[in-house]
Every structure is written in C-alpha cells, then in structure tokens.
C-alpha cells in the first residue's frame, strides 16, 4: 500500500518568510510524528499527534513552529519567520496501535532558508 508522503520534497525560502510542510500518513494510522534532521543537531523530535488527544509539542524549538492535524489524517507543519538555522530535512512518521512502536517514515522535505 501507499506509504507516508510528504510535500514538497524540496523548499527554498528567503529568511523571514513563512513555510508550510505537508504530511500524508498511511491510511488508518492514528499517530503522526514530526522530526527534524540537521547536520548540527542530528534527528530531533518536534511534535506528535495521537488520535483525539492533545498533541505532544515538547520538541518544538520555538513559538515560530506550529503544527495541525486535520480530520485525524493530514498534518501541516508551519514555520513562521524562517531563520537560517531552520534549514534541515523535516521528516514525518506515522504508526497505529498494535504496530509494536514501529514508525513508518516519509521521504522528508528538505528546507533551505537563504
């Protein structure tokens, strides 16, 4: 079946602009995660959604970062007033109960802030 998809695959933006990154999880997966992969910081957790529970936002690095998950499916990660240190690959993953904690990852969105 279809895996986790993310769009766009690449995004170049100017410092100070807002960007939106999209994630389509695997159908039926109730949990959705965002991670960031950068040269300096490695792989970091950002935020996760599980069903109708309040999201765990503990990994968001600043209030410029926010995320939504509409209808328990698609998620959008928004970065406002982008900075050069936001340049990274943003990875989305999903999973469901009974999957034994296995998270399925999308290919990522490479964000470059110039």
């Amino acid at each position: 079946g279809a895996g986790v998809s993310q769009s766009p695959s690449n995004k170049v933006t100017e410092k100070g602009k807002d960007v939106e990154l999209r994630c389509d999880p695997i159908s039926g997966h109730t949990a959705l995660y965002w991670y960031r992969q950068s040269l300096g910081q490695g792989l970091e957790f950002l935020i996760y959604f599980q069903g109708n529970s309040a999201p765990d936002k503990s990994g968001l690095p600043s209030d410029r970062f926010s995320a939504e998950r509409t209808g328990g499916s698609v998620s959008t990660l928004t970065i406002q007033r982008t900075q050069q240190e936001d340049s990274a690959v943003y990875l989305c993953a999903s999973t469901y109960s009974g999957q034994g904690y296995e998270q399925y990852f999308g290919p990522g969105t490479r964000l470059t802030v110039t």
């Binding site: 599980q50 990875l91 034994g100 998270q103 990522g108």
Partner: protein
Amino acid sequence: AQSVTQLDSQVPVFEEAPVELRCNYSSSVSVYLFWYVQYPNQGLQLLLKYLSGSTLVKGINGFEAEFNKSQTSFHLRKPSVHISDTAEYFCAVIKNAGGTSYGKLTFGQGTILTVHP
C-alpha cells in the same frame, strides 16, 4: 529523559567482512530499542527492534542486535556485509509507557557505514 550514544560516527569495511555498530543508551525508565537505516535521500526504515523477550533480535537484510541491560547497550551486527548496506544507521529508544504503542523516538547521532569492494 533518555539519551543515545552511537560510539562511531563512521565505519568503513570491506565487502563480505563482518561489522558491528555500537550503541549505548541512558534512561531512568525502561525503554524499547530500535535500529533504523537511512539510504541516501530517503526516509528511515526500521531494521529491527527490541521490546521484550530474547535479547538477541534478528531484523531485515541479515542484521541482528543484542540487548544488554547491564551494559545498557544495543549493538548492531552483520556477519558479512554487501555494497548495498552502505547507508547511515541510527539507534533509537522509546520510553516504555506501558499499555500503548506510541512514543517519541530519541535518536543517536548516526553511524555512516561505508562498504568498499
């Protein structure tokens, strides 16, 4: 909080040689352990996981790992590597919250495995 340390940032080996990628973790609570692989320009793929039971776990592509609670380690091994195993490997943990299958992964810094002909 949990932390994961991968002891080697890069491991070069020749084809058909054995390889071990080392991982140590620190946690004040029980954790589950994972190894993920990332091929160039791709997302992460699960190689294997330890949740409970036998401490020797087998995964895809001939990889295996052994959980050692006393040494807080989860080293990844393969007896004979192929060129196609060239990739970056990440060790990760999830806090054992009991009764759920969800949790945020805490990753190590990654080990780049390069297999030479």
